[in-house]
């Protein structure tokens, strides 16, 4: 069937902010989808609240709405745009749920919007666990024993039937939110209650535990003509019990025989047919009993998913693109395989390599949360690595994670106490892999490790071979039986083929990495670059997508065009996410337009940058010195771009420069000056710019004397950190002592930075671009939260709200001075603080910042593209960016925090960044834009009801106006004793409510009963900590807006007031501004 002519305009719903379980893989799929639809000549209307996405770049849609993903807003867009069809399967669970709501409310019917890609019945059948179970019964497929409960009593009955351990999963949630394993009755009831509360339909699935079974996923595609293909099989290294998003996974499946695999394949085809997914991709999960091969169906996602993004990158088959084309009527045999260009897309990719995905965790950010993996996803990012065998891919993957691993190194000493080691092996956690090594080194048998962990012996066997190889070589080196000179090339090659990094081998031989590398090159042990081609070389491949390995033949053929290497940002993590990938993609687009051949290097399968058609060549590789140098030596680029990928490429800058690699843009010396406290301090002084008093110390004594000199409170942190890791505001010497003890390794290599903390200061971020002569500010962002909250966790506004013109002028002047003296060529971000009319520079980063996408979307100028052209030799004048665009509307960025995934973690904002993503609200006033941003962050401001206010004494004076404003909007005010007394005195109508420990019903009861719609709670100090934690935790659980700062409270009430007066302006970006 050719493409449909009865539809012209298609609405695509994105997935919103990056959260755990739903990350930039949906930008990847959405971007591919939008491109595919536009290519077919359809008019694309896109809505997504996340500005840091490529898909929301105006060129990827005809109408691009950066608006909150709520039923009302999307309904308004539908009313305005009248699309013929809605494609709901590209934007994750968010889009799917929203689509179901739109359908239930009759909006799709009212405006005659047809669903393409999936129908309501199919979505319901796949998503509703009860319906799904019935469907599986119909086709004779087994699921784990279990049933559904709608209340605690039913749950308890099922508990008897299912036994322990039992899995409890709430229905209709994202990323398995709320899925838990209970080993006893107490846990069971706790989790069941939690699950019932968290399921939007109060339904939990209680199931027999199949913990320890092998877990597999199949990526399936179907078209209108009922052709079905399996794109990829994925096997989990960690057996059932660990969420697949948190598990190390491999592709293709490695431990199934043909018969076993074909059985799962046939089942997957039956499932997609029975569920009735008409067109597009689905992900189906199976568990296989390792004892007898019995298999059960776990679940199905009737849409593109994290796994489909991984499968696309693992195979080269662009699932989202094909899904979009199938949705508009094509059949699989009518579409071409991009990579071979000759054969049809109706086939099953075959791999001749091994892919390993490794999740990236950030437990260190969430104190109080145990590092334990279970059925609720907790990882914030992932890496993928490709090798010719499992060992190579695993070790490459480990060094891609950027946790400082050189490979599968010995992180845990085999001297570890046996009982503790067994415990660490038994309970899955983020570093279990390293305990596995300790176990092998300690002499545990493969069989016993298998019994403890449930990990398939095949994987363990491979790991054991790595340990044996390494130990044997270590032994020989120790006995002086071999040294680097006598190490035979063939053996060297074997180690490289098993994925050992130069660093690991250098460590074994006790020589520097650079010498080892030279020896390796001298011995002719060189990597080759093989193509990912979907067909194991059966057909000629035209898509240049490569990985390195140690074989005989390289397939990369350099062209004679000028090449630029762009180093990506590696795995997503808190502090370094999609924003940097966004910049890398823009660099590639801009440089390709200028006629360069771009070479992308990255290890993150979720991203747009690792889509093979974003750059001329894609190298899916770890971003380490070794791997990057291998590529640079192969490619011989004109220049390398390091300023877009966050810390990942920056860490390599000096080493690259030492090796004569041409770094484009701002010279590495400037990056160093900006990051080195002393050098930077000197520069600032020279320029006559103010900076908060500060110092650097190497021991507690140092730090103490500096702190007392500059006066408390002080901000302390270890140097060279990203996203404010281990950053803290310290109010007295005692806390400083604690901090030094708990957080910092005292050593000359780990200096501690101390800054005067500017309490109550306003923070301002500036993103600018400079060509070395001229500097143009793109956006000045005023933070809503005051200084002390990490800039990455603070909401902010363009234009500024309350900054006086002279201050803005000073900022402009300082920015230009700093840019010039740091010889900035490209992007630069400066953080300023304004306290009592005085401006201070907090930090200068001569590189892309997290806010570049937000600024670009706000002002309508793609800053990263501008910067790329500058780096390639153009001037700002030549690219036509000469002054800060003035905008007549407001843009507010708000962040999204992952607390709901980390029960037990305190939710108060501080200097440590913990947000995973961001949203943007655009409207004609600041207040409305703020209100939209809150709505988009899924904490909609209420228009009426009750506000709970509890503020500290310092904030009491500021609360007057705010309370009065709430009263004007007919809000009832509830307050605890102190605030109650204060407001009463000010003649503001207020009712008292108990604190948690004062009796019942108390404030938390009121929140749970729906008697409070918004919470304003500024921290009262130690005495109230318990109360405040309970309040904030409840607010997170019930998605109530919980505001912890006065400025945010002010913004909120203004927003509420304006929302009550006038409607939102709902307008596509294309009408806000025009791109070049």
């Amino acid at each position: 069937m050719p493409k449909r002519k009865d539809i012209k305009k298609i609405l695509v719903i994105g997935s919103g902010p990056i959260i755990i379980g739903q990350a930039c893989e949906f930008d990847y799929s959405g971007t591919q989808g939008c491109k595919a639809l536009k290519e077919e000549g359809y008019e694309v209307v896109l809505v997504n609240s996340n500005p840091a996405t490529i898909m929301t770049d105006p060129e990827f849609g005809d109408k691009t709405y950066i608006e909150p993903l709520t039923v009302d807003i999307v309904a308004a867009i539908i009313e305005k745009e009248k699309p013929d069809a809605l494609l709901p399967t590209l934007g994750g669970q968010t889009s799917l749920n929203l689509t179901m709501d739109l359908d239930k409310k009759g909006i799709l019917k009212k405006y005659g919007v047809r669903l393409i890609g999936a129908n309501v019945e199919a979505i319901e059948k796949a998503e509703d666990r009860f319906a799904f179970k019935n469907a599986m019964d119909n086709i004779g497929l087994e699921m784990p024993r279990g049933g559904f409960a709608y209340n605690e009593k039913e749950a308890e009955e099922l508990m008897e039937y299912v036994g322990f351990p039992a899995i409890i999963r709430p229905s209709y949630t994202l990323g398995g939110t709320g899925g838990n394993i209970a080993y006893n009755k107490e846990e069971f009831l706790l989790y069941a209650r939690w699950g019932l509360e968290n399921s939007p339909i109060n339904e939990v699935l209680i199931e027999e535990s199949i913990i320890g079974w092998k877990e597999f996923e199949l990526e399936v595609m179907r078209d209108h003509s009922d052709n079905v293909v399996i794109v990829c099989s994925i096997e989990n290294f960690d057996p059932m019990g660990v969420h697949t998003g948190d598990s190390i996974t491999v592709a293709p499946a490695l431990t199934l025989s043909n018969k076993e695999y074909q059985r799962l394949r046939s089942a997957a085809i039956k499932i997609i047919r029975e569920i009735g997914v008409d067109t597009g991709g689905s992900n189906i999960q199976f568990a296989v009993n390792p004892a007898n091969g019995r298999f059960v169906v776990i679940e199905m996602n009737p849409r593109v998913s994290r796994s489909s993004a991984l499968a696309s990158k693992a195979t080269g088959f662009p699932i989202a693109k094909i899904a979009a084309k199938l949705a508009v009527g094509y059949s699989l045999d009518e579409l071409k395989n991009d990579i071979t260009q000759k054969t049809p897309a109706c086939f099953e990719p075959t791999l001749d390599y091994c892919v390993v995905k490794i999740p990236r965790f950030t437990f260190e950010k969430f104190r109080g949360v145990p590092d334990v993996l279970s059925t609720q996803m907790k990882s914030v990012g992932e890496v993928m690595a490709i090798g010719r065998n499992f060992k190579e891919a695993l070790q490459k993957g480990l060094r891609s994670t950027e946790r400082g691993y050189d490979g599968w190194q010995t992180l845990i000493s085999p001297d570890i106490e046996k009982a503790r080691l067994v415990e660490k092996l038994r309970i899955p956690h983020s570093t279990r892999l390293f305990y596995l090594k300790a176990a092998f080194l300690k002499g545990f048998s493969l069989e016993s490790i298998h019994k403890i962990t449930g990990i398939d012996p095949w994987f363990l066997g491979n790991l054991n071979e790595l340990v044996k190889m390494e130990s044997a070589l270590q032994e020989r080196v120790r006995n002086q039986a071999v040294n680097i000179d006598s190490f035979p090339a063939e053996e060297f090659r074997m180690f490289k083929q098993s994925g050992f990094s130069d660093l690991q081998l250098a460590d074994i031989f006790g020589i520097p990495e650079s010498s080892l590398r030279q020896k390796r090159i001298d011995k002719g042990v060189l990597p080759v670059f093989k193509a990912v081609d979907t067909c194991a070389a059966e057909f000629e491949a035209f898509t240049p997508y490569f990985y390195s390995t140690y074989e005989e033949e390289t397939e990369y053929i350099p062209s004679n065009k000028k090449k630029i290497v762009i180093l990506g940002s590696g795995p997503n993590r808190i502090g370094q996410g999609i924003e940097f990938d966004y910049c890398c993609v823009h660099a590639s687009m801009a440089l390709r337009e200028m006629g360069f051949e771009t070479v992308m290097v990255n290890s993150n399968p979720e991203t747009v940058s690792t889509d093979y058609d974003v750059s001329d060549n894609l190298f899916f590789e770890p971003i380490t010195l070794e791997d990057v140098m291998n590529i640079i030596e192969e490619v011989s680029p004109e220049g390398v771009i390091v300023q877009f990928g966050g810390q990942t490429p920056l860490k390599l800058v000096n080493a690259l420069q030492e090796r004569g690699v041409p770094i484009m843009g701002t010279p590495p010396e400037s990056i160093d000056t900006a990051e080195d406290r002393e050098k930077f301090g000197t520069l600032i002084k020279k320029l006559g710019i103010s900076q908060p008093p500060h110092g650097t110390g190497y021991s507690f004594e140092d730090v103490k004397s500096i702190a007392s000199e500059i006066g408390y409170p002080v901000l302390v942190r270890p140097s060279y950190v990203l996203g404010g890791r281990s950053m803290e505001i310290v109010y007295d010497e005692e806390s400083l002592k604690q901090y030094m003890k708990n957080t910092v390794l005292e050593s000359p290599d780990h200096p501690v930075l101390i800054d005067k903390f500017l309490e109550d200061a306003i923070e301002i971020d500036v993103d600018a671009v400079s060509d070395g002569q001229t500097t143009v500010i793109g956006g000045v962002m005023q933070h809503i939260e005051e200084a002390g909250v990490h800039s990455g966790d603070s909401a902010c506004s363009i234009p500024t709200i309350s900054i006086e013109k002279p201050v803005l002028e000073t900022m402009k002047k300082w920015t230009a001075m700093l840019a010039q003296h740091l010889s900035v060529q490209g992007l630069m971000n400066i953080q300023y603080a304004l306290k009592e009319g005085n401006l201070y520079v907090l930090e200068v980063n001569p590189r892309a910042s997290r806010t570049i996408p937000f600024v670009s979307k706000s002002i309508g100028v793609p800053m990263a593209k501008v910067a790329s052209r500058i780096m390639a030799g153009k001037t700002l004048k030549e690219v036509g960016f000469t002054s800060t665009p003035h905008i007549s509307y407001h843009c507010v960025k708000e962040v999204v925090l992952p607390f709901v995934k980390f029960p037990g973690c305190d939710t108060i904002l501080g200097p440590e960044m913990r947000s995973t993503g961001e949203v943007m609200g655009v409207d004609k006033s600041f207040a409305l834009a703020f209100a939209k941003s809150q709505m988009a962050a899924n904490v909609s401001l209420p228009l009426e009801g009750t506000v709970f206010i509890s503020v500290n004494d310092k904030d009491k004076e500021s609360i007057d106006d705010i309370a009065r404003a709430f009263a004007r909007e007919n809000f009832e005010i509830l307050a605890t004793w102190g605030t109650y007394k204060y407001l009463k005195r000010k003649n503001i109508p207020v009712k008292r409510v108990y604190k948690v420990n004062e009796g019942r019903p108390n404030v938390v009861d009121a929140m749970k009963n729906g008697d409070i719609q918004i919470v304003i709670n500024t921290p009262l100090g130690k005495a109230s900590q318990f109360d405040e934690r309970a309040i904030r935790t409840t607010a997170v659980a019930y998605s109530l807006p919980c505001i912890t700062t006065i400025p945010a409270a002010r913004a909120a009430v203004e927003g509420i007031s304006q929302m009550n007066e006038k409607p939102f302006v709902i307008k596509p970006l294309q009408e806000y501004h025009f791109y070049e």
């Binding site: 025989s257 018969k259 074909q262 046939s266 045999d333 049809p344 086939f347 059966e538």
Partner: protein, 377 residues
């Protein structure tokens, strides 16, 4: 450290390490792109005379289970892989490690070579004879031996793999692994005669699932011998080599078509090519054949695409038989003929492997079609 060589007839050499039995072996070098199913490939008689390259780089992960053998032994001449793996005691069904299985079955192999380079070479230059040696790495002497090695066209490999004696086959397919309609004994057809040119057990299992009796005959059995069993249908099996190198088989099929026009006939792979020749058609050699489990085939009757398992170097030229047969299946990768039905006769044949093993089971309905054809419905 290299102790093994693979030398192609054009002089291209690959150095690796031995695997399987020590020795030297020559054959036509082909590759299979399936990611699993090595045991089925090794025991598929169609690979007789060939050195099979497996493109998936890790082989042996789940061991060997005797139930998965596709014939009474291993018929491919040699095995070429990137890396031999052990199960580490891992797979519940495994009875033997692959490396031991190779030893036991006297398969000479080579491992540790850049198999992807080899595949790209064959893709460019076509499949060609090669020699694996563990004892001699001298290119000149190996080339000399390859020179005297008979080409595929000259060899009657079928006689080497076909059953030496008539036997009855009793196993049906294992429904734990395969979906297929369940037939009561009474609903099955009475009996099917199989011409064994190198059949796989899996085909016989399907046939036994639709017939009460399956009798397997050596390839050279005269037709009158077969007819003594009064089969309700005749099946022409898959098998190795060039169809034109076994004129006796073509003559048998010609005789069948001439003397038993009403007798239902079904052929797979070599069986399909023999039918093509018997209809007066031509066959030709493909550059490097189809060997894999992801070949997209369009069923021209339903318009649907089936993902299939294939293993052949020769194809039937449809134009040469278009007046006698309809095209029922076509390969979407290169448009080659994949299935025919003879006009006005209960006769059809398929180039690919509907029994899969190894590969997807999308097309096993064809066995049921044969059942319906015999039943006359």
């Amino acid at each position: 450290m290299s102790q093994a060589i693979l030398l192609l007839k054009d002089g291209t050499a690959f150095y690796g390490k031995p695997c399987g039995m020590r020795g030297e072996v020559a054959g036509e070098v082909v590759f299979n792109t399936g990611m699993m199913g090595y045991q089925e490939i090794l025991t598929d008689p169609s690979y007789a005379g060939q050195l099979v390259t497996l493109t998936y780089p890790m082989i042996g992960n789940y061991g060997v289970s005797y139930l998965d053998n596709e014939s009474r032994g291993v018929f491919c001449s040699g095995l070429i892989i990137r890396e031999m793996h052990s199960t580490f005691g891992g797979h519940w069904k495994s009875q033997e490690e692959l490396s031991d299985f190779l030893q036991k079955n006297k398969v000479v192999g080579i491992q540790g070579i850049d198999t992807r380079r080899l595949v790209r070479h064959i893709r460019e230059h076509g499949s060609m004879p090669g020699i694996i040696s563990h004892s001699d790495t001298d290119v000149k002497s190996l080339l000399a031996r390859l020179e005297s090695f008979p080409s595929m066209e000259e060899r009657d490999l079928v006689s080497e793999v076909s059953t030496p004696a008539i036997y009855e086959y009793e196993e049906t397919i294992d429904r734990d692994y395969v979906d297929f309609p369940v037939l009561e004994e009474k609903d099955k057809v009475p009996g099917i005669a199989v011409y064994d040119y190198g059949t796989k057990y899996c085909i016989l299992q399907y046939l036994r699932t639709i017939a009460r009796k399956v009798v397997v005959f050596p390839a050279r059995t005269p037709l009158r011998e077969v007819m003594k069993y009064h089969p309700s249908g005749v099946f022409l099996s898959n098998g190795p080599g060039d169809p034109s190198s076994i004129p006796y088989a073509r003559q048998t099929v010609e005789q069948l078509l001439r003397d038993y026009p009403e007798l239902p006939l079904f052929g797979i792979c070599l069986g399909h090519q023999l039918l093509g020749l018997a209809l007066g058609g031509k066959t030709y050699k493909l550059t490097f054949g189809h060997h894999g489990i992801n070949q997209p085939i369009r069923n021209e009757t339903t318009g649907k695409v089936e993902i299939t398992s294939e293993n052949h170097n020769y194809a039937v030229d449809f134009d040469s038989i278009c007046h006698k047969a309809e095209k029922t299946h076509v390969n979407l990768n290169d448009g080659t003929l994949e299935g025919i039905r003879v006009k006005n006769r209960p006769v059809f044949s398929i180039q690919f492997h509907p029994e899969a093993s190894t590969g997807p089971n999308d097309s096993n309905y064809l066995f049921f079609d044969f059942h319906s054809m015999i039943k006359g419905v």
